[in-house]
């Protein structure tokens, strides 16, 4: 399984890898590039990644998801480099016998990957400027309240 990739993430291939005749529930999360950020128009994102540590950390998060949840399959792949609007920046797939576990494990993986993997987003705006992302968006979200 690829943990990071410079090519577009192949959702179909990942889904087919996640199929398991023992699993009744498959949950896929795709974090996709939005055409706007903080009310500004976005052209594309660029993800910088320190691959050796990012892959080690993502692998560790996946392994710990198997211990915390009853999973048949857990996959995660983060795109790096330039990513266009509506393309997947990160995909997590979890497969379990019951949907509660599949949803919970999926959230567990994406929350940890977003916070812990050394991957950094740079937003390129339509006005020609660019800016580094400020932590993960759930953080900003909390601050808005």
């Amino acid at each position: 399984m690829q943990l990071t990739t410079e090519d577009p993430i192949d959702l179909i291939k990942m889904l087919s890898e996640a199929h398991d005749p023992k699993a009744g529930a498959v949950v896929l999360f795709s974090g996709e590039v939005r055409n706007h950020s903080h009310k500004r128009d976005v052209d594309y994102l660029f993800y910088e990644c320190y691959v050796p540590m990012a892959e080690k950390i993502i692998k560790e998060i996946i392994e710990s998801s198997y211990t915390k949840f009853k999973l048949h399959k857990a996959l995660c792949c983060h795109r790096i480099g330039k990513v266009g609007i509506s393309e997947s920046a990160v995909v997590v797939i979890t497969a379990s016998s019951h949907r509660e576990e599949a949803y919970a494990a999926n959230r567990y993986i994406i929350d940890r990957v977003k916070h812990e993997a050394p991957i950094w987003k740079q937003e390129f705006f339509s006005d020609g400027t660019h800016e580094w992302g400020h932590n993960c968006s759930c953080f900003e979200h909390q601050h808005n309240h």
Binding site: E48, Y50, M53, A89, W120
Partner: protein, 80 residues
């Protein structure tokens, strides 16, 4: 002793991506951070929030560096 420093993402707006520092024997990871804080005050808030890693493993600020080690200054993740 000589320590290799590597920085990422927004830190590269202020510092070279990789460079060497000459430090006293027994210097800690946090001492690297403080040295950079004084030399690059513009990067202070990011440096303070960054994690530190040696040999591709996160370390505490109290980690004692050895000659020729490679320290990574890792700004907060913004993946996904």
């Amino acid at each position: 002793m000589k320590i290799k420093v590597q920085v990422f993402a927004s830190l590269k707006d202020y510092l070279d991506p990789q460079f060497y520092l000459e430090l006293q024997e027994g210097a800690t990871a946090n001492e690297v951070r403080y040295r950079l804080l004084t030399e690059y005050p513009m990067a202070e808030s990011i440096l303070r929030k960054s994690k530190l890693a040696v040999n591709d493993c996160f370390v505490e600020g109290s980690y004692t560096l050895k000659d020729n080690e490679h320290i990574l200054i890792i700004p907060p993740s913004s993946g996904g």
